[in-house]
Point group: C2
């Protein structure tokens, strides 16, 4: 059974998944980079970026789980890039260079149609204008029995969460404050929607939690 | 120097310090009791309530720090009890019986004057109708060089936090969702107010963080 899941997504102590004022220089908003030292330090991240070494404990376990059994991805258009409104041309192909770390079809939610882009390493960006249910249906088909993972950003996760379509969320809480930006849970009653915390591991760098929707 | 501090205050993963619908049966709101298993399990808590045993690791260290060097307390009227509006009589003396765990003057913020109440064990409840600054001035004087601690609830902490009067907040994040209730940080830009995370310890039961205001 294909699950819709969120993994390797980090929020601050005060609940923000991105800082304010996202821009080409600050893809995660002002202060957003302070969320991810736990992840950057892991062996999983270092190996993906051609580095060596890295942490091998619970931080790394949770990072590695983010790349297991994923058959397709969903992301919001604001995560795909800083361009807003109609696409001015076809030059923007994401933040990740010629070989993005997805290695599977990625369904990008947008109001503005655009032809699919085939990247190196198996990543193909498809642009979906018919909304979150259509994107999930297409991603589920493309995943061929593996899971569909929402890469982000915050607003995309919130849309699927409000619709109670997410089966599992694996979050890290970093020991930082962001103060403002995009809040993950604000105004969403996760308890009423059927979620509960089913796993909880604290490390020196972060607190890892898994929220699971009751069946 | 007297510091204004918050300690032994617990929030959920989604940031709530109390559940909805506070009542005599649910002083912490619906679901609020699920915040505190980490605390109840500690040796500090067990000894305060005449029990034996209890955890002795980081959970207990953080619990114990909540009772060190406190010379006076501040609490909101809704934490003092479920009575709302003018006091109907003098019978309500708090949730804690004849010998409350404060053992020092406690300044209760309220819009409705009432004579002070002397309890056993050193706790004296004073009722302050002149607002948060007046309560802090009186508590600071009463603390005689020791710290003033805000016992809660959420709204009282938020008032002092918005005014950037809190020097240090020691919070626990429990691995539970509350979904709704009283949110501690919502709409408060702690970063802009000058706070940063200066300590972070994860245990099997909770994540302990210390937020400190830059001097």
């Amino acid at each position: 059974m294909t699950k819709l899941r969120v993994r390797i997504f980090t929020i601050s102590i005060d609940g923000y998944g991105a800082g304010p004022e996202q821009s080409p220089d600050n893809p995660l908003g002002v202060g957003g980079r302070t969320l991810h030292p736990w992840l950057v330090a892991t062996r999983t991240f270092q190996q993906m970026h051609g580095g060596e070494g890295g942490t091998t404990g619970a931080d790394n376990d949770f990072a590695a789980r983010g790349f297991v059994n994923v058959g397709a991805w969903i992301m919001g258009r604001n995560m795909f890039g800083p361009v807003r409104g109609p696409w001015p041309d076809e030059t923007w192909k994401g933040w990740w260079g010629e070989n993005p770390p997805y290695h599977n079809p990625v369904f990008v939610l947008t109001h503005h149609a655009r032809p699919s882009i085939t990247m190196e390493g198996g990543t193909v960006f498809h642009f979906v204008t018919e909304g979150i249910n259509a994107a999930l249906a297409r991603a589920t088909e493309a995943a061929k029995g593996q899971d569909v993972q929402i890469a982000g950003g915050v607003e995309t996760i919130r849309q699927y969460l409000r619709a109670a379509l997410i089966d599992e969320m694996q979050l890290a809480i970093s020991p930082v404050l962001l103060g403002s930006g995009e809040h993950l849970f604000s105004g969403i009653d996760t308890l009423k929607l059927g979620y509960q915390c089913t796993e909880h591991v604290g490390t020196a760098n972060a607190t890892h939690i898994v929220l699971t929707k009751r069946g």
